[in-house]
């Protein structure tokens, strides 16, 4: 009996170890629609142009969502599911290109252009001259006097 208990214990542990993933995959709780949509909204169907999977009304996309639900039930993580779809259909199913290979250019080019623009504006600023009579041109933030307003109105009347 002394030997039986440890054997039973370890057998039970082994069984648990061996079958636990299967158990988790086959008997996990059914994921809610929200859990499915949380993954689906990060994916795009290759057939329905530019429509995220969570809102695409086609039958094909409904089947994809069912597949996501199945994978979640089997215990797959979000990243694993995304990778599964990438393996099956290519990187176009992702909502943004992955940071690898040629796709690096999508992330590099805009900052280069922006930096070039900043440099051009910076050069324009550096080439500035001091104002000849700054005081005269600062009027827009001054409070106009009554006399000043009278002149304004006179000018406005002339412009009618």
């Amino acid at each position: 009996m002394k030997k039986t208990l440890p054997i039973l214990f370890f057998s039970a542990l082994l069984l648990l170890f061996v079958f636990s993933p299967v158990f988790a995959q086959s008997a996990g709780p059914t994921p809610s629609d929200d859990e499915v949509n949380a993954v689906a909204k990060q994916l795009f169907c290759p057939v329905c142009e530019n429509t995220p999977l969570d809102v695409c009304p086609t039958q094909a996309c409904a089947q994809w969502r069912d597949l996501i639900r199945l994978k979640l039930t089997e215990g797959w993580t979000e990243d694993q599911i995304k990778q599964y779809f990438v393996d099956q259909y290519g990187a176009r199913v992702l909502s943004a290109p992955p940071l690898e290979g040629f796709s690096w250019f999508i992330y590099i080019i805009p900052p280069i252009f922006l930096a070039a623009g900043v440099y051009i504006v910076f050069r324009a600023f550096r080439a500035m001259r001091k104002p000849v009579n700054a005081a005269v041109q600062e009027t827009p933030v001054q409070t106009p006097s009554d006399d000043y307003l009278r002149r304004v109105e006179e000018e406005l009347k002339q412009r009618k």
Binding site: V55, L94, A96, F105, V121, F125, T139, V141, T143, P144
Partner: protein, 699 residues
Amino acid sequence: MLADFGYGVLVVTFLVSLFAILAAILGQAKKSQKWVESSRLAMLLTFPLTTLISLTLIYLLVTNDYNIAFVYEVTSRAMPTYLKVTALWGGQAGSLLFWSWLLSAFMTAVTLRKWDRDREFLPWVVLVASVTLAFFLALNVFYENPFTRFWQTFSGVQPATFRPAGAMPFTPADGNGLNPLLRHPGMIIHPPMLYLGFVSFVIPFAFAIAALVTGRTDDRWIRITRRWTLWAWLFLSLGLVLGGRWAYDVLGWGGYWGWDPVEIAAFMPWLAGTAFLHSVMMQEKRGLLKHWNMILIILTYALVIFGTFLTRSGVLSSVHSFAQSAIGPAFFIFIGVTFVVSIALLLWRWPSLKSESQMTSMLSREALFLLNNLLFMGILVICFWGVIFPLISELVTGAKVTVGPPFYERATGPLFAALVFLMGVAPLSAWGHSTLKTLGKAIFKPLLAAFLVMVAVVIYFFVNPRLVNEYLPYALIGLFVTISTGFVTLYEFWRASQARARAQNENVFLALWWLAGRNRRRYGGYTIHLGVVLMAMGIIGIEMFQTETQGTIAKDETMSLAGYTMTFKELQDFDLNDASGQPMQNVARAVVEVYKDGKMLGELYPRRDYFYDAQQPMTIPGVRSTLQDDFYVLLVDWQPISSVGATFKIYHNPLVNWLWFGSFIFILGTFIAAWPDQDPELAPVRARKNSPAAYLTGD
């Protein structure tokens, strides 16, 4: 046969536009006013001719002539007459014709203006506008004939312009019907507005090219086209807003903007046009950036054609479908040729486009406008690159990629925030020179008010912790920038109207009315800024605080989201018939009750319509709208036989109605700015920039 008549007039119109081009060139080459006048009259003639073509096609659409392939593709007997009319722009061939019709209308309006002071521009304006018109008419004549007919041949039914040997006309009993998504009121108005925006930008471009060719590179061309540009911008803005509203009402994903390439195609000319609208002021007031303004209008025109190319060539589906499409390469060549010629002209005139003065302060209004242009161009580059990258990737690697909302939102978000910030600061700075001290003095009070509001906002989030999410820090920064800009703009209105009210001893509102009337451009601009502020608040609300849930519930069961509770009461399933009693569409409509804090707010009717003719569904949400939020319910799925349960998707969209309200203010502001002055030809702006009136009128 009416179709032959329509095609005949189409060919004649194409020839007339070619004649206008030829006459303009001859008039210039021979220095002959007769030829120039002849080109003007030819351009004038294109409008009645394109009107005749369009009315012919509309007649065929309305009378169900399914012998015409285009009529068959976009209409059906079950469609109401008004939808048959709007089906004109529901398909490729018709929308290209509609483009030409609108362009010829604008060209006619240009020919009718007084040319006394700008006679030298006339032949070149006619030339540029007619080249554009001829190109679009050529697409209809050679590739996308809207009058193509069905013919019964030995090998089957085939569409052709001319009767194949031994063929008989073939007329299907009914048509395909318009895509259900295009039957929404927003979609009926959205394309014409967008097209109006597109075609009206051709006019300032034509004047810019005329200025380059004639060497009259002062700001005359800008002053002539100022209002054209504003109207173009107004139409384009209206088109974009209506498109957003249509997406919100019909596409069934709870949003208004999905960074779809087709949306971006329309957004890019708007970005370039907005930069242009700001930049031209620097040339008008200070004689600066003449090169840049030319570049911007050339870019805007190129993007208008590029936008049409993107949506019409099939290139967005795949580069291969572009190569197979008949009009894709034609568009590509046209964009390339017009862009290269325009840039060549610009380089030729480069020396004569030197600035008349120099910037003198980093805080001057022109310096801030320069930054504004940098930001607009930054957003434009991101959009352009994001749209064409999948095509380049497909060409280079053979594999397509998707560039979706996450890329655009992360890349453009900070730039938009900086733009809103600049929008607040720039109106306070002076042309020529400003200092930190003067700016600080002007901005202090609005900033203080914004700070106090933000304290209240933070307290609101503190007492409502369920609203807190990972975006909150960004949202708070965005709200602070937006609210500050709003207060600055309101303060500007207040300061000027107060000064006038005191001086004239009149009501503040009356004073504001007079001031706005005297300088529509300035106060129209401020109103536009206010609209943008409201829109930005709506965007922050929906983009950063939108929540959603989806679930399947039986009758009398409930779903909850963001404090709202929804009870499913009933599912109705019925057909809608046309006038002849034939079933037109099937409607599955859920009846749900919405409660908040135990109080019933009302019933909503989310539905899914299935159109028998087009064999396509359309999802129409049930929406409860308040200024605070939208409770937006979609019917995703249901059990039609037992009607025991249905799947709903619910979105809670905070502040989204500020976006629509802001859009209305935005459009109103553009109307104010674009409305013609009583006498727009008064003294040059720069001559009176230092006058006292400049302060209150903003010149």
